[in-house]
Symmetry: C3
Subunit: 394 residues, 3 copies
């Protein structure tokens, strides 16, 4: 029997830690891994595919990216299908990539074109194929489709990156803008993705703790409504401004991993300027690719937060502790957060919703239905987001 | 059939390695973990609890230590009970610690005082509690109780730290004095704790190998008797001195992890000056906190062994190999020693006894009885040790 | 149903990775581990056994090598049989090695000679034995036998290291000559060993990719026949030379791990000059010991390939990527290659054969028969290899 003076709520009572594997793990054959594989994901900048093979890790798979002498980008399984040596040591030629070990030559779609150590250059070379993935280049990014071939959708177009002013153009960035840290962030992708539908952390983490990282307006606690959308979750925040007007800010999380977040520095009152794709590298790390409308080269990079003029990587451990940002908040949840220890409140409605949406898509796949957001019609119109910073009279 | 010329005793015959998990593993829910959790353990110096959150790892648990603006020390589960971000990035305020992510404020006992992102500051905040542990400050140290609340004992007082000369005071040290190496020692705690009841290694390891690290007297092989005590194991060593007198040295290991070891430099002939607590950080590392009577600040630190005037951390790998000490002997047993390969001899009686005492306490807990050494009466007298260096006429 | 426009051969179809454990894993009790333990393996240079204990890791076992004051080399289990401290911190004396912790003294065959902390120096010391392994010194190397004592064979003699010109002598090398990288190579031993019977990679990896590392002749694609031998696999390569003559090169892989490879720089047309032993350190690393006939001290080391005058360890990551060698090709297969993803071709016949030979020996052991290549007669003649570079009129 527990007496009145006993300590309550001590850590001794914590249950063994558990995470929801189906929501966070991304390997081939896992529920979320298969859901993510139904969509195109950026795996590099267009400039990353070049004459020198480049290591790519995406959804837990080790791949090699290159561009052959005819300009075709190729993304292949890192291990040569012959004897398993990594094609990272391969030589890129006009027609494809050649393995360093026995010289097998593969084209951008994995077809074996030459087997120089075999009689007559390889009479049976058509019987082997280097595992590969289809690519598409758009918005400065290289997108890959790692899913079941029969289910391959069209790579979507987005209105916010298609329709622009005369002095605007689209620029891409691979430095994990919005992640609050270095390009590769050592925790599960969902910890970051949930942050997208969490507008309440802004006045705490990005203002009270770190000084108003964004604008004065953003430092105020917003009034927020959350809503499921055909694309994912939409977050509408309103904040009263000093002049009596209202800042009306809409942020979207679009399945599978799109951050559709207007500039938190609220440089303009208009529809969203950029899209971020959260790429799960594996279960315990991710990176973010961004494409956005800009007027000057480098505009995207200039969105990166600094503290006292310092970039994240120039801050000391002590400065990181005193002035944490998204990187600290999310990596601080652990490599994979412990779902069994969470306690949700009303302000977490967006997170509850995005998990619900993801769960629903897992159910859809299990039931043989398509998850939301897939486009199969090449002539489909561009996707239009609601996201943006808007000003209202009251 | 084995012939007369066959090699005997080769390593080919070694059985697969096994360790006694119940004696060494310290996690919550393990036998030894639960035994250790029935006692108070030091987790820091009093000065370690301050306005900047500090990471603490003890018995395999990740915790955060702080001192609020009212001077109360708090020790909480590192993960915020809301969304799991570590409170290491929290801000310490007058009333408690505030999480960086959504600003929940917790007092030193984990009560949630504010939820700034919630309507009306959190109408349901009483429903959550940040997992915490009770603390007590004494002898320059902060002690924590990580066990079942209903079983919480009184933090014991020790005569050797309570009764002192006019010019003495108690000082604490967190540098793992007695461990023979750096503050954090990368092997299981029991490997060190067993060393406490092993007086025979002194003339070998600390004299023949490393030059007489202690005194000439200590370099002689002692005559030793071992005895179970109400507190653990008592070791009585006698050594003949050059002047015909006898050095009579008593060392104690007191359950659960107390090193009650008189100064091996035998600076005085008197009762023990200090107590060391071996804190298991986790299964494969530990540290030692010490509190002792001194006359000058820093006296404890001056007990640290040096070799040719060098501290352990200033010695080269070659010097460590030639002049090993306790760190090398114990870390050299592996991260967790292999019990299945041990061969005890008569001089190992103390180790056999301390394991027996520990096993007996595991049995006691299993049977629903209290292990030895627990005090539940706040007015109980201070614990008196026999330990000390004494001189006898013959 | 798969339609005509679907992508074929994508990496989405790759089966879960598997390796053939019985071929690659070397621990005691594993099939290959037991096969390898039926043979002598070099574990160091003769000079490596000296008065300072040296850590040795072989076939996944941690051992300590020393030479006592009487000149006898000893190889013992690293953990002292008393309390498990590593004998790396031991002191080497005239009669053996003494543990730092309690001073037990062991001779080169593990007999316990002294227990200084025990009454009368240890009345029962004959009851313990430090696990040890028999050694033999030859060709500048120390060979150890880690297998079942009843099966211990004779350490073979090799004609190529026994019969030599007046100005020749045998030299040994421990720098993993032939491995194409540093002394310790972080991948499974079999990946390297298979490379020995793979003559086709030479004109690709060692010529087309890295510039003719060897000679112009070696850069030509050879005509090759493979053959099982009483010792393992023999590879015969012929290449037409510019002068109309034929370079006839024979390479052998001799069970268990011998590389019998004539100098690829083809300095002379004669029988093989050296033998390399591939020592599995554990499942995911190996090293190579070499002994060979030379005329000048250091001749073996001068066989090491350089690129643009640089040794492997002086090359940048970019240079390694552009000019890969055996190290890159084999470590590039992964810590343990994935056998389930291999696709063999005709030029891989040697690899298929060496795996067959190894499998046959695993079967032999399972059936209670001796594997090939074991010699039990101390007066057996030296092993003669066919290997060499020879010149033929046509």
């Amino acid at each position: 029997m527990q007496g009145p003076n006993w300590d309550e709520g001590t850590a001794y009572e914590i249950k063994p830690p558990r995470h929801k594997a189906e929501l966070v793990e991304v390997g081939r054959g896992t529920p979320m891994g298969e859901l993510l594989r139904r969509y195109w994901h950026p795996v590099g900048l267009i400039a990353d595919a070049e004459g020198t093979p480049r290591k790519i890790r995406a959804l837990g798979e080790d791949l090699v990216l290159f561009r052959d002498g005819q300009g075709r980008a190729g993304l292949v399984h890192a291990r040569c299908c012959h004897r398993g040596t990594t094609l990272y040591y391969g030589k890129v030629e006009k027609r494809g990539i050649r393995c360093c070990y026995h010289g097998w030559l593969f084209d951008a779609e994995g077809r074996c074109l030459e087997q120089p150590c075999e009689p007559e250059g390889g009479l049976f070379r058509a019987k082997v194929r280097q595992p590969w993935y289809p690519l598409a280049e758009r918005y400065g990014l290289i997108f890959a489709y790692l899913g079941p071939p029969a289910k391959k959708p069209v790579l979507p177009r987005y209105e916010c990156l298609e329709v622009m002013d005369d002095d605007e153009f689209v620029e891409a960035d691979a430095s994990s803008l919005g992640g609050g840290g270095p390009p590769i962030i050592p925790c599960n992708w969902l910890q970051h993705y949930e942050n997208v539908v969490d507008p309440f952390h802004v006045p705490v983490l990005h203002a009270a703790f770190s000084g108003a990282q964004f604008t004065t307006a953003m430092a105020a606690m917003p009034h927020v409504t959350f809503e499921m959308s055909p694309r994912g979750v939409t977050v509408r925040s309103t904040r009263k401004l000093d002049d009596g007007k209202t800042l009306y800010r809409i942020t979207e999380a679009a399945i599978p991993t799109l951050r559709v977040v207007p500039n938190p520095r609220v440089a303009q009152f208009a529809r969203v300027e950029s899209i971020g794709w959260v790429l799960p590298i594996d279960d315990t790390s991710f990176r973010i690719y961004v494409a956005g409308r800009v007027k000057q080269p480098g505009d995207l990079g200039r969105m990166r937060s600094t503290f006292n003029g310092k970039f994240w990587w120039d801050m000391s451990e002590e400065e990181h502790q005193r002035h944490p940002g998204d990187y600290e908040a999310q990596v601080g949840q652990g490599a994979i957060t412990i779902h069994s220890e969470e306690h949700f409140a009303q302000s977490d409605r967006g997170i509850v919703m995005i998990r619900r949406v993801l769960q629903d898509q897992l159910e859809a796949i299990k039931a043989g239905r398509d998850p939301i957001g897939l486009i199969f019609d090449p002539d489909a119109p561009a996707v239009v987001f609601e996201a943006g910073n808007y000003i209202r009279a009251a």
